[in-house]
């Protein structure tokens, strides 16, 4: 059976991963496979899909303990990030962002900011709120994803304690992204209704992925409330 950096086997569960991740602070705790892999996958499931992997459970266990604190402690003001982006994505990324150790990966920015609501679209299932935030060179619009459908993997990619090699394959990697997005949307529930009027002052924190400098400034928020300035 494959061993783990933390001495936990797959069957002892994700809770240990969480504990390990907390203890080792990103020193490479792995979700570990064992011989159970591929068993119990329903007919028609792609090869390599592990039904035992519980992405939502893992996310539930790290959300309050690690994800929210990360955003409180490490989010950078979005104004200077937007300004830096005008000078080139790579330069801005090196200064304010993080990127998986692979060519072609997007830059991920963990940001916080505030601004005035420009518009809210909840007709689309991929709901959005456009906010004009102040930057040193004037206001710029960013789009906050409200869900229920959230695009992209920015939240997952923002976590320094989770990486591709921690799971068996790209499907589990994606399941973590989806579970994080779903958790974020659940946390926004109810917050949006009081903020719909254009001009409302809002504050937010969240993650933004940019694969090229021309990509839309789109943030997946983990927090959104009235206020800020």
């Amino acid at each position: 059976m494959p061993a783990t950096a933390c001495g936990a086997t797959r069957s002892t569960g994700l809770a240990l991963l969480v504990a390990c991740a907390a203890l080792t602070a990103g020193t490479g705790c792995r979700v570990v496979r064992d011989d159970e892999r591929d068993k119990g996958a329903p007919a028609g499931a792609p090869a390599g899909v592990t039904q035992a992997f519980d992405a939502a459970g893992w996310v539930a266990s790290v959300w309050d303990a690690q994800v929210l604190p990360l955003y409180e402690a490490q989010a950078v003001p979005i104004g200077p990030v937007l300004e830096a982006l005008a000078g080139g994505l790579d330069a801005a990324g090196q200064r304010y962002g993080r990127r998986a150790d692979a060519e072609g990966s997007p830059w991920t920015f963990t940001v916080k900011g505030s601004g005035r609501v420009v518009s809210v679209d909840t007709e689309s299932r991929a709901g959005t709120m456009v906010v004009a935030v102040e930057t040193p060179t004037g206001p710029q619009e960013v789009t906050l994803q409200l869900g229920p459908v959230v695009r992209g993997t920015a939240l997952r990619d923002s976590l320094p304690f989770f990486k591709f090699g921690d799971v068996t394959n790209q499907i589990e990697f994606a399941q973590v992204a989806r579970a994080l997005n779903d958790r974020a949307v659940a946390g926004l529930a109810g917050a949006v209704d009081g903020l719909r009027a254009p001009g409302t002052q809002v504050a937010f924190s969240g993650a933004m992925n940019l694969a090229s400098g021309g990509d839309p400034r789109q943030v997946t928020p983990v927090a959104l409330r009235a206020g800020g300035k």
């Binding site: 060519e103 072609g104 990966s105 229920p148 591709f164 790209q170 990697f173």
Partner: protein, 317 residues
């Protein structure tokens, strides 16, 4: 006759010389990189081989390019060849997530490092690197564009690849991860066309007869998207949204002509080159300096950026 015999002997000698030449060259210091992919009939795999070979030659290696045709037994034989030729490294787009593990291990035991591209295997610690085309991420990009172009509602059909191929399932799952979040989008049928253009053509013909109300077809790869497009044209249906996957030049041209809405580029050429660069670093220093598993994101191709696409690579500016 004496002269004849002498000529034959000379010929024989020169033939032998020619046969011996590659190993002589290796003996002179050039190391060998063996590049193994599925059949080059699919231009995607051909570009992988072309990209890897070009980079290996630039870096001063001899190359041997082989195809396994998605047959893991044949792949096993090719690994024996690489081992017999004392390859310095193997670049591999593999023939099965489970079946490949033993072959890669055999090479490792013989001291030959393997560098995987495109598809991952269900084991770590055996290959030195696995550069994985993130098909799932790519599929969600394609599906997001499909949903947008469909206006988040309406009937659609899905063409799935060869069911035995891991990526057929991964892409389908990625599509549904997005599409199934839109209750007003109704899938009327889901059929495999085995990655084949001709099969996709006939499947689409019958789908259109049975479901004339469909507004979209989402396809697991570009060759099937081309088949679907041809059937739609034959039926005079210009209103149906088609999305493919791979980023082939054929579909690029169809996007430019407004016949296909979008595809998803897997950076096959660059991925293969990157694998060779990691192999070169590993050969020279004993380490790639990177984690074994590296995910490479796919890129959405629409009318906006189709002009920059050429042979599975996106040219910036």
């Amino acid at each position: 006759m004496k002269t004849t015999r002498r000529v034959s002997l000379l010929l024989l000698a020169s033939l032998l010389g020619a046969l011996l030449l590659p190993s002589t060259a290796s003996a002179a210091g050039k190391k060998l990189i063996v590049i193994i992919t599925p059949s080059h009939d699919n231009p995607f795999f051909k570009q992988e081989a072309v990209g890897a070979e070009a980079r290996a030659k630039e870096l001063g290696y001899d190359t041997l390019v082989l195809v396994h045709n998605d047959d893991s037994n044949k792949q096993n034989d090719l690994f024996d060849t690489a081992i017999a030729r004392k390859a310095a490294a193997i670049i591999l787009d593999n023939a099965g997530a489970d079946a490949t593990v033993a072959a890669v291990k055999k090479a490792k035991d013989a001291g030959i490092p393997s560098f995987l591209i495109d598809r991952e295997i269900n084991a770590t610690g055996i290959a030195v690197a696995q550069i994985v085309s993130n098909n799932y991420q790519g599929a969600t990009l394609g599906a997001e564009e499909f949903v947008k172009r469909m206006g988040e509602k309406g009937a659609f059909a899905e063409l799935v690849g060869k069911e035995s191929d891991t990526n057929a399932g991964i892409r389908s799952k990625g599509y549904h991860d997005v599409i199934d979040q839109y209750p007003a989008l109704k899938m009327v049928t889901r059929q495999s066309a085995n990655w084949s253009q001709t099969e996709a053509f006939s499947k689409t013909e019958s789908i259109l007869q049975a479901n004339p109300g469909i507004k979209g077809i989402i396809s697991g790869n570009d060759t099937m998207a081309m088949g679907a497009m041809a059937a739609l044209e034959a039926a005079g249906r210009k209103d149906v949204i088609v999305v493919g996957f791979d980023g082939s030049n054929d579909v690029r041209d169809a996007i430019k002509a407004g016949k296909i809405a979008a595809t998803v580029l897997q950076p096959a050429y660059r991925e293969a080159q990157y694998a060779v660069e990691l192999a070169d670093k590993f050969i020279k220093t004993g380490s790639t300096g990177k984690p074994e598993k590296i995910s490479m994101d796919c890129v959405l191709i629409t009318a906006k950026n189709a002009g920059k696409l050429e042979s599975f690579a996106l040219k910036e500016k």
